[in-house]
Amino acid sequence: MNQQELQALRELIASHKRWDWLFGLLGVFALMIGVLTFTALFANMAIDGIGRIDADFLTSFPSRRAANAGILSAWVGSLLVMLVTAFAAVPIGVAAGVYLEEYAPKNWLTDIIEINISNLAGVPSIIYGLLALGLFVYTFGLGQSILTAGLTLALLILPVVIVATREAIRAIPQIIREGSYACGATTWQTVRDHIVPYSSAGILTGIIIGMARAIGETAPIITIGALTFIAFLPPAPFAGEPPAGMFDWLFAPFTVMPIQMFNWTSRPEAAFAVNAAAAGFLLVLMTLAMNGLAIWLRYRLRKSIKW
């Protein structure tokens, strides 16, 4: 090979290496756009909103005057709706996940259920709102209540809980089941004493991620017709006259944090934008804390469990 060809080859290699390096830079740059957006979003909300967050803001009802308005009815509403969502989504989601992993026969019905779950995970949240409007509000007559909202969000996060449950169960080695069956345990005994306890951390991760998603969902709750101006609290859960009065809270009108924020965002006055930032900041903080907890849990799990 003569000197000239060698020179050309070296140049080619150098240029390829340069492209490699450039792409690495591009990758870091693309990631930085994500990081920057997130930082800007968080910082903007913190700067605008943090001065507004005090005890009064948390303990006042919404008001026509921005300075007096608070989020009391919104956070109480969010809390109660989440309570209903958790009560509905956790047992159904975990049971469905366990069924599909431990019980389900390989047949067309199981296939249909599985395709359904993966399809439901991709349905836009507003469609769940229309489902709830047509079915829960008008056909079942549950009204625009905490119960309707909780059940709607439960249906929405069900695929998340089911998928997390299945993944957690799949990580349990077969020998655990075989050991249990060899001792004469039934399927249910195996599930109750081994499968569910050993997969509980993974299931919990999925539940937290699902709840974090539910707490920030706005569109389906607007669609069922939740009111935005609620200057009263629903009756305290389980406090009324038993047995019927105990469940009054389920049928009370309500508002939630993201709806309150949407309401303030859509007003032209600047003072309400500050309120929106404050409510948004609390909302972001909540979802970040929940998602962070879930990620940390999963990280711990991956490090600590070696089958």
């Binding site: 259920i113 399809n119 349905v123 836009p124 949240s125 089911i162 039934t186 949407f262 962070g292």
Partner: protein, 312 residues
């Protein structure tokens, strides 16, 4: 005849056997309950189809299908009512196109970077971070688009109205990046190491290996990530409801305000139209349209993913 003497106490107590029979009944009962829980997903789908179709039938009895598809105005709440879904679709298509122009290049670059270039520690930090980014409520992104991104764009392009599809689309794109990036990365990491080793052994650089070996091998997985991204963009609601204004507007210019199929549903739900009025039925017809669009994309994505699993 001599028989083997039985032990005085039977080895298998009869009471236990009876209990076992009961145990089987209990087992069956539990299995049935769990099946019902799994069947909730099928019931949900059936419920969605039932509600959308039955309410839309009422709508289409009053409005002919040809008007719905070909009219160029959408004014269901005016006296002179027109029901041209095209107007809402144009908003959905425009905002989704902007979002995908942001999400697909950035998401793909991030996926290639994380899968082929990034050192272990960067990936360990970046993946949970992307997940956090995907977990931020969409109403927050909407607020961000309205309060931060629109003013920024107005500095470059002063004629931009306060509500516009451009800012909403850009922020929506950033919201979709985590989905596109993490699904594409999964697809690329599923490509066997031996393919990369072969490429490196031929003297290819990382970039050449990534673009000409790994990406073609992961095509269907990456395509399914894009399709799911499209489906997200089409179904996104709150960003558009907050930042794009809610005036129906037949336009493909992102620098204008516009309503989408989703933000129209929000607009009607916020008002107080009586149940059963024609204006009210429109949201179910719009919902049916939306459901059909996302269903097509989801099935396409599912099919692609399945195909990609079979390759290796």
């Amino acid at each position: 005849m001599s028989s083997i003497p039985l032990p005085a106490e039977s080895a298998v107590p009869i009471g236990r056997l009876k209990f076992n029979r009961l145990r089987n009944v209990k087992e069956r009962g539990i299995e049935a309950l769990m099946f019902l829980a799994a069947f909730v997903s099928v019931m949900t789908t059936l419920g969605i189809v039932y509600v959308l179709v039955s309410e839309s039938i009422v709508f289409f009895q009053r409005v002919p299908l040809s008007d719905f598809l070909f009219d160029t105005q959408w004014t269901p709440l005016f006296d002179d009512a027109h029901y041209g879904i095209m107007v809402l679709l144009s908003g959905t298509i425009t905002s989704s196109a902007v979002a995908l122009l942001v999400a697909i290049p950035l998401g793909t670059i991030i996926a290639i970077y994380l899968s082929e270039f990034a050192p272990f520690t960067v990936r360990e930090v970046a993946k949970p971070f992307l997940e956090l980014l995907g977990g931020v409520p969409t109403i927050i992104y909407g607020y961000f688009a309205l309060v931060v991104v629109t003013p920024l764009l107005q500095m470059i392009y002063p004629d931009l109205p306060g509500f516009n599809l451009l800012a909403a689309g850009i922020v929506m794109g950033i919201m979709i990046i985590p989905y596109v990036a993490s699904l594409s990365e999964d697809a690329m990491r599923a490509v066997p190491m031996s393919l990369r080793e072969g490429s490196y052994a031929m003297g290819a650089t990382r970039l050449q290996t990534a673009l000409r070996v790994v990406m073609p091998a992961a095509t269907s997985g990456i395509a399914s990530a894009y399709i799911l991204g499209i489906s997200r963009a089409v179904g996104e609601t709150m960003i558009l409801a907050v930042a794009a204004g809610m005036q129906p507007n037949l336009t493909f210019n992102p620098a204008e305000p516009g309503a989408t199929v989703t933000s129209y549903i929000v607009q009607v739900a916020l008002g107080d139209l009586p149940h059963g009025s024609i204006g009210y039925q429109t949201i179910f017809a719009a919902g049916l349209m939306l459901m059909l669009m996302t269903l097509v994309f989801n099935l396409l994505g599912y099919y692609m993913r399945k195909k990609f699993r079979e390759v290796y």
